[in-house]
Symmetry: C2
């Protein structure tokens, strides 16, 4: 299944064809593919090149590790994410390595890394569904997170499922239209709220 | 000039060839190209599809607007960013539109939008240099930012410059090697600090 963006201006296919399925195919992702996704994250830019991102990874080939990670999602996400072949947690080091001060850009830069990971996934026929609905306290305990490390997102990774073979509820969610505000709602010129022309 | 990443695992050329120059060519960027960059940002994923990002844009074709935006960077960034043909500010709406509660993922999702913008730039022969070094107070005042909107980054956009025609200091910075920690420093399995295998 594909679900391209409805574009007002042309963009590269890797951008237009990235989307966030809830229905994944029953197909494993080779570890070498995952290494390439993580390599894309690795080369993201970051403030002071601090590279504040980290990922915890579990695949269905490791049932205990997968179950532990799945249990760190809010129940509404567990319902569909249990069918993904790969789950990850996205984490941020929130203090600067250089001076231990708060890194205001830590979550921003994790977002950049995860976005590049998702582009690399699209290039390989995979898709990534990122989630904010996680249980940070459970994650901190389960994975023994040190002070200054925050769990921020989870990521489900896999090949999009065939709507004809997905559970109806997931197929229906994946069939819903994609929606974004127009550029005039967020691209400004002389002042906030004044469209850039 | 190009400056591809030194890869441990293969990634798509648009990821490997994205980098952050300080030296830009003396060449304008057509507005239609910028619209495509912003369209890539538009289609980023976000928590609750809140799309918390916004951009303020100024080009050298608008000298007053450009000077105003340039003045919102820390002096160290002004020295090189003044030569970029396009400057932007990246902003985040830090409260959820749905219920006015804090959006923990606002900066994260701005980061995703800016990363996709930078990939689209690479696809068009452009590069983006993002900066954390901005003057948020000056920006809030200059652009009349409402409560709940934060300036987070600036972005310089343009065609990379020919090192032979750049000022020596900029050419030297652009010639410096790219550097990232290996995956074992940020990809974990059973617990924080334990490499995923």
């Amino acid at each position: 299944m594909s679900k391209p963006a409805i574009l007002d201006h042309p963009v590269h296919a890797l951008i237009a064809e990235r989307w966030s399925p809830v229905g994944f195919a029953n197909r494993s992702v080779p570890p070498a593919e995952l290494r390439s996704l993580l390599e894309a994250a690795r080369w993201a830019p970051s403030a002071y090149n601090e590279q504040p991102w980290a990922y915890i990874v579990a695949t269905r080939e490791e049932p205990e590790a997968f179950a532990q990670l799945l249990g760190c999602l809010v129940p509404g996400n567990q319902t569909w994410a249990r069918r993904a072949p790969v789950l990850m947690i996205g984490l941020a080091r929130t203090r600067l390595a250089r001076n231990d001060k708060p890194n205001r850009h830590a979550l921003h830069d994790l977002g950049q890394a995860s976005a590049l990971l998702s582009v690399e996934a699209t290039a390989r026929g995979l898709q990534v569904h990122q989630m904010g609905g996680i249980l940070p306290g459970a994650i901190a305990s389960a994975y023994d997170l040190p002070q200054g490390v925050e769990a921020v997102t989870a990521l489900a990774v896999g090949y999009p499922g065939d709507p004809d073979t997905l559970p109806d509820a997931l197929a229906a969610r994946d069939a819903s239209p994609r929606d974004r505000a127009p550029q005039r709602a967020f691209v400004f010129g002389a002042a906030w709220g004044k469209s850039w022309e």
